[in-house]
Symmetry: C3
Subunit: 313 residues, 3 copies
């Protein structure tokens, strides 16, 4: 299979077929077994532009660590106060600045469509590291890779996605990714934070999708816990609720604590894109199903694989 990632943007999970994702996973496996002296040839002399218009430690460090792990360098900014946007420069010109000085751009921006717009301006490949509430495709990739590695397969699993499904961009990338596999997806959220219709309506139109994803919506988490193979928790943000009482009620039911481990399948896995606040209690960290830290570690590997596929033919 020729490398379909070479010189391509990564803007949406919709753009990648199952075969392409599987190539990425295979490359991730290989990269994690390589020694640095071999990996270095994949990124040596290459510069990654970090263009983060929103605060992020996790995603930024993961991209920077991934690039360093294949011998490359990262430069850029992670807040807009020190950029020329402050002097009235247009977003397009700012993209051109980063493009002129780098070989590949990893960007995060609070607006929907921002990554696609940047990719239109830039002649260098653009990887979205999160665009508004829209998508966070590399998170989706590492999420699928985590399932593949920790469960041995994706097909045939029952996967619950829990929390703020309306505004959580990682949720959309995950659903688009899962739609290329044969899975059952249970969406669990309060009524006001249900998944946006765009996510489920368009599934049949997603590239290369000739499989059977089944999606159901729920409002209660606890009854589902014994059924799920994968429990994907997300953070619910206070500012999404009109009043505090409503928020407290939701917060009181969408969480996982140590005792929930007993009613889960023994070989279920619990994931979270992080950062978490209350929705997975620290006591759960030692339970056998906890995988969210391992998931974060896979992020570095998957991003290193992605960078090396985009940078090398």
């Amino acid at each position: 299979m020729p490398n379909p990632f070479f010189k391509h943007d990564v803007l949406s999970m919709k753009d990648f077929s199952r075969e392409e994702l599987e190539l990425l996973f295979l490359t991730s496996d290989k990269i994690s077994e390589m020694k640095f002296k071999d990996r270095v040839s994949l990124g040596e002399g290459r510069i990654q532009g970090i263009m983060f218009f929103e605060p992020s430690t996790r995603t930024r460090l993961s991209f920077e660590s991934a690039m360093a792990s294949i011998g490359g360098t990262s430069i850029g900014f992670s807040e807009t106060k020190t950029t020329s946007l402050e002097k009235g420069e247009s977003f397009a010109d700012t993209v051109r600045v980063v493009e002129a000085n780098t070989d590949i751009i990893a960007m995060r921006h609070p607006m929907e469509g921002s990554a696609r717009f940047a990719s239109d301006v830039s002649s260098k490949p653009v990887i979205s590291g999160g665009a508004g509430t829209e998508e966070h495709p590399t998170q989706g990739m590492l999420d699928l890779y985590t399932i593949q590695k920790e469960k041995g397969r994706i097909d045939g699993l029952r996967i619950g996605i829990v929390g703020d499904l309306k505004y959580g961009r990682t949720v959309y990338s995950l659903i688009y990714g899962l739609s290329k596999f044969d899975v059952n997806v249970d969406l669990v959220s309060p009524p006001t934070l249900k998944v946006r219709k765009e996510a489920t309506l368009g599934l049949e139109k997603i590239r290369g999708s000739n499989n059977t994803i089944e999606i159901k919506e729920h409002e209660e988490l606890k009854p589902l816990l014994p059924e799920l193979d994968v429990i994907y928790m997300t953070r619910i943000q206070k500012e999404r609720f009109p009043d505090e009482q409503e928020f407290e009620k939701v917060r009181g039911s969408y969480y996982i604590d140590a005792e929930d481990s007993k009613i889960m399948k023994r070989d279920a896995i619990v994931m979270h894109p992080l950062p978490r606040v209350d929705e997975i209690r620290p006591a759960f960290d030692n339970m056998p199903q906890a995988r969210y830290f391992k998931q974060m570690q896979y992020g570095r590997t998957v991003r290193a694989a992605l960078l090396s596929l985009i940078l090398n033919p």
Copy 2:
């Protein structure tokens, strides 16, 4: 010719002769043709200190990218809030901190004379990346290199410099650089933003200058457009004007739009140190004379050449 840049500071365009600038351009040509595995020997193991007391994306990324492109590393700061200046440390001591941990310093500071002061304190070479309204020598170097590459020569050209000529530091470095060549320079600005006398009065005193630069001043841009080989636009900042009405009047006449392309010489080039706001309309970006993005790309090459000349005998 022995390398006159080795271990030297870069504080003012006045300090460099035509021959030295031509050596820099030649080195830039060579560097842009080298592969990374050859370039890496020029900067490997060297550390560039980034000491930016003023916000800047373009210049900072350009220096960092240049250093990475020859195998070196950059460390430092690009805002003063996280530095010990906040604890009352003197500027001289802050310079010593950066000097102690690096091999070469690239600095930007809002005060005139700051780069020269830093170079007095530091035993490591200091490159000014902009000092107040005084100068921005590496911008001047990449500006001249752009003219040389895009027009094939500098001698004999008619060059218009437009906008805020009083406070725009790039203007001074450009004029000092052009003064080593045989050119006609047209300075175009509103009366209140005319070039400071220091720029033109001192030309005969500039090192190695035995050529004929002719300088004229103008207030109107449009009548000049058909005559110029190079049109160098600069940003006019609102805060330079006592009242808004005056600013709007100026803004309304010192700009270039798509239709101006037709009245320009076909092989004229339009340059800008960037960031731009209104003075070059986005519609002009696709016109054949637009070179400001290419100019920015040359910046990385010229700075890589400069770093390698300063770091290696």
Copy 3:
């Protein structure tokens, strides 16, 4: 001697024996004589996580420069505004983010116990770059190294430590380090800023300490100056004093100026962890006893040695 630093944390000077410190000094000597092409094997492919919750130029740049000097890369953050702590993430989870993406962590935090807490969470080695008013162990190491290099020995010296001994964390690391040698220590401070009892009370309990440190406390600096072999100045911060008058009085007596050079021993050395404000006047910088800039330069070497010892067996 097997390398006792390998994979170990650096949290307190109390944890290191005299023999271990001497190994570190020996390694520092070696590193400073090595060429980059040899040093590079010590850190190549390794990533240092910079986790600085407090502003710092000096210590951060020193760690970054040290890592670069052995071929490694640094990533991280130096202020908390761009981190997920802002989104309500726990400190433990933030440590896990950095740990997942790096091989070793250098951290600074305003709270006592923070570095030890991070080391409990992290499976990667943690080096404290300053924890509250508690300790700053790598500063203590470079301070001892400076004395060893500049005086040729540590045993038998009379060492004055001057200034804010109550809140100055470097003071504690220095005293714990000196306690492994045979020295006389004179502590000089205003009554309200005397050293905390923990520093002197616990000396007999410090690991591997079977030597004779003698400690005396003083309130006046000038009478001691002719007696001391090492004069270690520290900054006194205005905010430590209830009223301005009290502060001015102290500031007026705890400083060193050019003329003090004459009453000091000719071969005495004056040190300071920096940043300084008033306590060493710039005029003293040219006096033969001034060593605080050299001390800062040694910091890079000692940290490079420390990193290479922790990263390599």
